[in-house]
């Protein structure tokens, strides 16, 4: 031990700082703000919204500071030194003599997501100031939004699974409240219920997975790291330690993955996400595109070692994560073609982008996936806010592209420009951010030898380009239709339309939105353009900052066991690690002398050739789709119009898509109804008739027995004719009539009988 301690002298002590040490403040601030909004929000001049915005700005500053200091920390580390996460832990609860902590676990991953969440939340809250002005539940909206940010931030920097679960569930709750924000409409509250319920189904997996990991890891972590089996750090190290029984960890990984399927809207639990668009647009852009829905992806990335070992990532053949990811990419992209509601198009595109992240993680492309979380957040949020801006200022709060949009590029230039930038980013056009992340994923998937999935990825890229072009065309080009043409066709179906403040500015036709809306759009579009350069592989090593800052180094480190107490144990490198150049045993073999926190992953070498191919595919998609849209929507070309009616096969396929593969039908009509109605009815019937029946039957039989005894003991049946009607059952049963057979003595009778039985049993037992 001290032998290593000596070598460890050579390692530079890692830099730290106030922001890193106090990162736990980041979620605390919004939490407090939430409480304040609830308590005093209504009395404040801006109805509590200022509290929300301020708190988000505060967390943004805090997380930016933390990010900066984390970069310092990484730079201060030696070339081959493991950059220890900044872990703090306080005792939270105890049970069975064990102490469980609550605390922060700050590493590259959490820094990235923290920053993204804080950033987008801030912008969205500013945007909402305008977008929801005059809403009937303005204060509630900001309260929920702030609580959401608190929950998500808490989950991101959680150092143990319990805190993680806490954040996870709080997000679910907020998504429930926000989707159902205009709960007067039944549809909205239904969607809210559906979202919460679907995600909750996935959460079974989370509960089970956490339990399994805890009980299988706890012993090992306690003695090797001095942390509980809930600690993320402990679990990661344990997973790579070669300890775990392969089946246990596999089941645990699958269970956890089910949770992420539910949360991240992966197939087959993706159906809640499009419905969630019933919520206000800022909610869709914050929760249901950029932050909350990536929680599932985050879970996989966070506990990557578990999945790496459990599902045998990088093994031959595809694994569960890749398969689900791949399926999701294609089916949701396909669904995006048949949507008329612009938000639903974006929703399905979100689902398929999440599919990309899953695919990346499943294929061992950890960094590109995380990087895709980062870039996707910006351009997708931008797209949603853009859609919101359109409906807010141009289309009377309608989101129907075919009926109420078209030709808007002239009236709202800023929205148009930002939209185009983000769309290109989403399609993955060089040099927009999406290119650097998405292309990396596809590239690495291929590089790790999963060619089928690489093709799926390319196919997905093609479809993405196509449906986004269609949406763009419908929205911004062609002739203005419906509302955007100025016809004040007020559509009732949209909850948003019902609130008054907007009815006024509906009167004058489409126009550009105000600064509070456009400024966030512009900021986001700038990032959608620029954020890709943080990890621009084409330009060589020096541009791959993300890789340097975020990716944990797969280096075996020696730990001096519990002495330091939870989370405090000093970590030093193995001298062997110095020369072993990226040939670390981590992930591939059992570390003999130390522990690993991350598996060793390869990175594909960037080749322009490959990039060119994917570019070509993307442009092909754009071009085809553009021509089709032009012919179909503007030229009304007779060969295309009504094609689906004429050609049976296409018609069926189209219908199949419109019906969303009948999955909703399966869930709601078949599963939910069978539980909610017949089964529960049956259970209740059982309760009322069997169990109570037994009780009443017992009463009845005593009655009959005693009748029999009575008739033989004593022949006087004078009044029994009268009494036979009122059986004891009845007296136990509908005891409604006021002059019902003697209560006092009835209780006496019961007492006596109980006593009698007791006495008898006692006598018999006590021989």
């Amino acid at each position: 031990m001290n032998l290593f301690a000596k070598e460890s002298e050579v390692l530079a002590p890692l830099a730290t700082g106030w922001f890193l040490e106090h990162a736990w403040l980041i979620p605390v601030v919004p939490a407090i703000a939430f409480a304040l909004i609830i308590l005093i929000g209504k009395r404040l001049p801006m109805k509590g919204s200022e509290l929300g915005v301020l708190s988000m700005v505060a967390s943004l500053v805090l997380s930016a500071g933390a990010a900066y200091q984390w970069i310092q920390r990484v730079n201060s580390a030696a070339e081959e030194q493991f950059v220890t996460p900044v872990i703090k832990s306080w005792s939270w609860w105890q049970s069975g003599g064990l102490d469980f902590g609550i605390g922060q676990h700050i590493d590259g991953l959490s820094i990235v997501v923290l920053f993204v969440v804080a950033f987008i939340s801030t912008l969205v809250q500013i945007y909402s100031l305008e977008y929801l002005r005059g809403d009937r539940r303005y204060t509630h909206f900001f309260a929920a939004l702030t609580l959401f940010s608190g929950g998500m931030l808490a989950m991101v920097l959680a150092d143990n699974m319990i805190l993680f679960l806490l954040g996870w569930e709080i997000m679910g709750l907020c998504s429930f409240l926000l989707i159902g924000h205009w709960w007067e409409e039944d549809a909205n509250s239904r969607a809210a219920l559906k979202a919460f319920f679907t995600v909750r189904v996935g959460d079974i997996g989370l509960l089970v997975g956490i339990s399994m990991l805890y009980f299988s890891a706890n012993e090992w972590t306690q003695e090797n790291l001095g942390v509980s089996g809930f600690s993320i750090r402990g679990i990661s190290a344990w997973a790579l330690s070669g300890e775990p029984n392969s089946t246990v960890i596999m089941i645990a990984a699958i269970a956890l993955f089910i949770a992420s399927i539910g949360k991240s809207g992966q197939f087959p639990l993706h159906t809640w996400l499009p419905d969630a668009m019933a919520g206000p647009t800022p909610v869709s852009s914050l929760l249901h595109s950029s932050t909350m829905v990536v929680a599932g992806v985050f879970l996989v990335a966070r506990l990557y070692p578990v999945f790496f070992v459990g599902l045998d990532i990088l093994g031959s053949g595809g694994n569960l994560i890749m398969i689900i990811g791949g399926i999701t990419i294609v089916i949701s992209a396909a669904l995006a073609f048949v949507q008329n509601d612009i938000k639903r198009v974006l929703a399905y595109s979100t689902v398929s982008q999440l599919g990309y992240m899953m695919l990346g993680l499943g294929a061992g492309a950890w960094l590109p996936a995380v990087f895709h979380i980062f870039t996707h957040a910006f351009f997708k949020a931008c797209l949603f806010l853009g859609a919101g801006s359109i409906s807010h200022s141009a289309s009377h709060h309608s989101f129907d592209m075919k009926r109420d949009m078209g030709g808007l590029r002239k009236v709202m230039p800023i929205t148009f420009a930002t939209w185009i930038i983000s769309t290109l980013a989403l399609c993955g056009v060089f040099p927009f951010s999406g290119f650097f992340s998405k292309d990396e994923i596809i590239d690495n998937v291929g590089n790790n030898g999963y060619n089928t999935f690489m093709i799926i990825g390319l196919l997905g890229a093609f479809m993405t380009a196509a449906y986004m072009t269609r949406a763009t065309y419908l929205t911004f080009f062609g002739e203005p239709r419906g509302a955007s043409a100025g016809h004040a066709t007020h559509d009732a179906h949209d909850a948003h339309a019902t609130h008054d403040a907007h009815a006024i500015n509906d009167l004058h036709g489409p126009h550009e939105s105000g600064l509070l809306i456009t400024v966030p759009l512009m900021i986001l579009s700038v990032l959608a353009l620029g954020s890709g350069f943080l990890n621009a592989t084409p330009f060589g090593e020096s541009w791959e900052r993300m890789k340097l800052w975020v990716e944990p180094r797969a280096i075996e480190v020696v730990v001096d066991a519990p002495s330091g107490g939870p989370g405090e144990s000093l970590i030093v490198n193995l001298p062997s690690a110095e020369e072993s150049h990226s040939k670390s045993v981590c992930g591939s073999a059992t570390p003999e002398t130390g522990v690993c926190y991350a598996p060793q992953l390869q990175h594909a070498k960037f080749k322009w050739s490959k990039a060119m191919i994917s570019m070509a595919i993307v442009f092909l998609g754009i071009a085809i789709s553009w021509i089709m849209s032009l012919l179909l929507f503007t030229k009304r070309d007779p060969r295309l119009v009504g094609l689906t009616q004429r050609v049976k096969v296409l018609g069926l396929g189209h219908n199949f898509l419109v019906k969303k593969y009948y999955l909703d039908h399966l869930y709601e009509k078949v599963i939910v109804h069978s539980v909610a109605h017949p089964i529960s009815r049956a259970a209740y019937w059982f309760n009322q008739n069997i169990l109570d029946g037994i009780l009443h039957g017992f009463a009845k039989s005593t009655r009959t027995i005693s009748d029999w005894v009575y008739k033989n003991v004593d022949q006087r049946v004078v009044d029994s004719t009268v009494n036979n009607s009122a059986t004891f059952t009845k007296s136990v049963g509908t005891a409604a009539q006021p002059t019902q057979s003697g209560k006092v003595s009835q209780y006496g009778a019961l007492l006596f009988s109980a006593a009698a039985i007791a006495a008898l049993v006692l006598v018999i037992i006590n021989t």
Partner: protein, 99 residues
């Protein structure tokens, strides 16, 4: 003479008394049944007094008799009162706890 013959007699009386308490509706009759029970207890006491050659049993028997007297006095007083107010002494009609 066996100990049990007395004890059996006592238990038979006791059970009859219990039956009476349960089965009867008329307050006076319930009181009577209670008297039966008390007497069976007395028989027990005296039997054991004889068996153990102590006189405590007698004392208790006397006390019981006295208490029984008191109980009957009060009990019947109640019955009278109830009868005066409700014109009935069927305990069921006293069992309306509401109102």
């Amino acid at each position: 003479m066996y100990v049990n013959q007395f004890l059996f007699l006592a238990s038979v009386l006791f059970c009859i008394g219990v039956y009476g308490v349960i089965a009867r509706k008329n307050a006076v009759l319930i009181l009577m049944s209670i008297e039966l029970i008390l007497n069976s207890v007395n028989i027990n006491l005296l039997t054991f007094a004889l068996r153990n050659g102590s006189t405590d049993g007698h004392t208790f028997a006397l006390y019981i008799i006295a208490v029984a007297a008191a109980e009957v006095g009060v009990g019947l007083g109640l019955v009278l009162l109830v009868y005066r107010n409700k014109k009935t002494i069927s305990v069921d009609d006293l069992s309306e706890m509401r109102g």
